[in-house]
Amino acid sequence: MTVKKLPLAKAINESLRTALDADPKVVVMGEDVGKLGGVFRVTDGLQKDFGENRVIDTPLAESGIVGTAIGLALRGYRPVVEIQFDGFVFPAYDQIVTQLAKMHARALGKIKVPVVIRIPYGGGIGAVEHHSESPEALFAHVAGLKVVSPSNSSDAYWMLQQAIQSDDPVIFFEPKRRYWDKGEVNTDAIPGPLHTARTVREGTDATLVAYGPMVKTCLEAAAAAADEGRSLEVLDLRSVSPIDFDSVQASVERTGRLIVVHEAPVFFGSGAEIAARITERCFYHLEAPVLRVGGFHSPYPPARVEEDYLPGLDRVLDAVDRSLAY
């Protein structure tokens, strides 16, 4: 058994290395992924070891990157694309929505486009505009795409392995502010399914659902709540499309209360979908309406106010209070 303690970014690096090693059809491509090793060093050293045809520095054009990745996939490759920051995925949005997502269905299943699109996302790193966004809802709404987001090093490693092995396009959202958080990775483990949620803390009074960067925040909130004598269950959703509603439902049937937490704006966000569906499934179990904690309906604000914008422990606990007040 090989267990290493790795920062999340390094776990992704190792995962890419494993995939490049295992399958000659895997290629990594994006802006600055080669010689520089990516602006976050996630692809550090890969070009040196696998060459310029496997780890490809591309022209500065996201639509071109995804569009050529699709072509490579049609040729039998398995491209892993890096979009440098969340806010720069939009030039590629057309290729993702009208082509990547729909080609398998368009061809009645006769072609597959196993493209993974890695996107460092979310805020909390004090960055300038376009470098802190959480656009996952804009992909989850689109049929044909799968959308996942790991919250820790082990998931980062394994979920990326599974995303690369999937014959479907996967949008892989990496919680950039957790890149430097260390966690154990067992590279010999047999991972669970890619799209199931995981209970990361058990509790009885209310359920917190989160994914990516907010899992840590929710765990902190649950710990703080415990001090006040409240028992919160925390679910790491891991997958935003599909969503493991069964696990959420099972938890809510026990706790009777649900708070969904994400960085993305609440309006039309993941929380809306989860609230709607879980309310339908658990109508007679819910003691309070599903509450949502997330970003506001405003452009991501300047760094000096992002702490106010981002859901933190206090806002999560405020929602817990409001839920318990019903």
Binding site: A61, G64, G144, P242
Partner: protein, 421 residues
């Protein structure tokens, strides 16, 4: 296999006889100044005449009257064509046009929802399509019915998406002919990526990306030019400039001839007479050979004309004059080759009559197939959304099935919906 699709698979690029059939009448032996040989990178660039000085020259091997003119740069690419080959090209164009006309009729009869006619573009499509080898991969727009034919795709398969029974009914892997792409320009990037893969594989094949004149304005096409140049990908961009993007003339897309676009990206651009099947064949062969030889991409602008409406939904009388169409009729690609075949004695009445009969047979088959094309089952909505499945699709499929079943079992069951409650 049907008669026409068998024939469509016959490779045309290997000269099947030694008799050189495409004789020229012109005697001038020297290549036109400034045009050079098409093989050299720097000399090929800018070929076709100076920018801004009126209509640029275009590569032409057959005049509109069907007279073979010499062209030092490109003659060699058609030098080994036999009379059989020439008749086959003629057949391709006639059958393509017949098929297209049938589809237009079927649309009028309500059998198809829409049809984008290729009328007038047969030479561009057959010439370029026949220049490809079987291993070359084609990325079409939505109008490349003639190219599909050349790649051996059963033409009836093209009709499904316009009837509304699917969004693309053939297997792109079988014939190296990708599905039609409706979002303008997208496919040029797929073609480029595919060609990058061909290069990484070290394979001896190339890729053709079709696009329209309007498409040249899309950012995706520019990015395809950039990527293909930077990676030296073996891709040929074959732009059918049919003068119109729905109602907009080419001047709304560019103020200089489109083939010149390539130069600024570092690869050659050539304008060819798009109604001259020999010229289209020659220029595309040249570009594909370059690509396969590792010399990278090229842009071909086939100067042609959309003789019909943009699609059956369009009414071109609102934006263009009849005289324009009439002028282009004189350059008809089929008449042109026929004149040449006749003047050279390569085809007799029997050939034309037989071809007419074959076209009719195809037309009938197309009608029959379309009319009996079954509507998809409602449950197909949930198929092939994902290759590896998706829980929500499974849930919605089950719900929908229960919902549908609720109608079958009258009296209506109160527990419709079938949801886990």
């Amino acid at each position: 296999m049907t008669v026409e699709s068998t024939a469509a698979r016959t490779p045309r690029s290997a000269g099947s006889g030694s008799k050189r059939a495409a004789k020229t009448v012109s005697a001038k032996k020297d290549s036109a100044p400034g045009r050079g040989t098409p093989r050299g990178k720097s000399t090929a660039r800018g070929k076709g005449g100076a920018a801004g000085s009126g209509e640029p020259e275009l590569v032409q091997l057959l005049t509109p009257e069907g007279v073979r003119v010499e062209n030092a740069a490109y003659d060699s690419y058609v030098a080994d064509l036999t009379p059989d080959d020439l008749r086959a090209l003629y057949r391709d164009m006639v059958i393509t046009r017949r098929f297209d006309a049938e589809a237009v009729t079927l649309q009028r009869q309500g059998e198809l929802g829409l049809w984008p006619s290729l009328l007038g573009q047969e030479a561009a499509q057959v010439g370029s399509g026949r220049a490809t080898r079987e291993s070359d991969h084609v990325f079409p727009t939505y109008r490349e019915h003639g190219v599909a034919w050349c790649k051996g795709v059963d033409p009836t398969l093209l009709l499904g998406m316009f009837r509304g029974v699917n969004n693309g009914g053939w297997d792109p892997n079988t014939n190296g002919f990708q599905l039609y792409t409706i979002v303008i320009g997208s496919q040029t990037l797929h073609a480029t990526g595919y060609a990058m893969g061909v290069a990484y594989d070290g394979a001896d094949s190339a890729v053709v990306a079709y696009l329209g004149d309007g498409a040249t304005s899309q950012g995706d096409v520019a990015e395809a030019f950039t990527f293909s140049a930077v990676y030296n990908a073996p891709v040929v961009f074959f732009c059918q400039n049919n003068q119109w993007a729905i109602s907009e003339p080419t001047e709304k897309q560019s103020r200089v001839p489109l083939y010149q676009r390539a130069q600024g990206y570092g690869f050659p651009g050539v304008r060819v007479d798009g109604n001259d099947v020999l010229a289209c064949l020659a220029v595309t062969k040249w570009a594909l050979e370059r690509a396969r030889a590792g010399e990278g991409p090229a842009l071909i602008e086939a100067f042609t004309y959309r003789m019909g409406a943009h699609t059956t939904s369009d009414d071109p009388t609102r934006y263009r004059r009849d005289e324009e169409r009439e002028a282009w009729e004189a350059k008809d690609p089929i008449k042109r080759l026929r004149a040449f075949l006749e003047s050279e004695g390569h085809a007799d009445e029997g050939f034309f009559a037989e071809l007419e009969a074959e076209s009719e047979t195809l037309g009938k088959r197309v009608r029959d197939v379309v009319r009996t094309m079954p509507d998809p089952d409602a449950m197909s909505i949930f198929e092939n959304v994902y290759a590896d499945g998706h829980a929500l699709v499974d849930e919605e499929r089950a719900e929908f099935a229960a919902y549908e079943a609720s109608f079958a079992d009258e009296p209506v069951n109160a527990a419709t919906g079938g949801e886990a409650k």
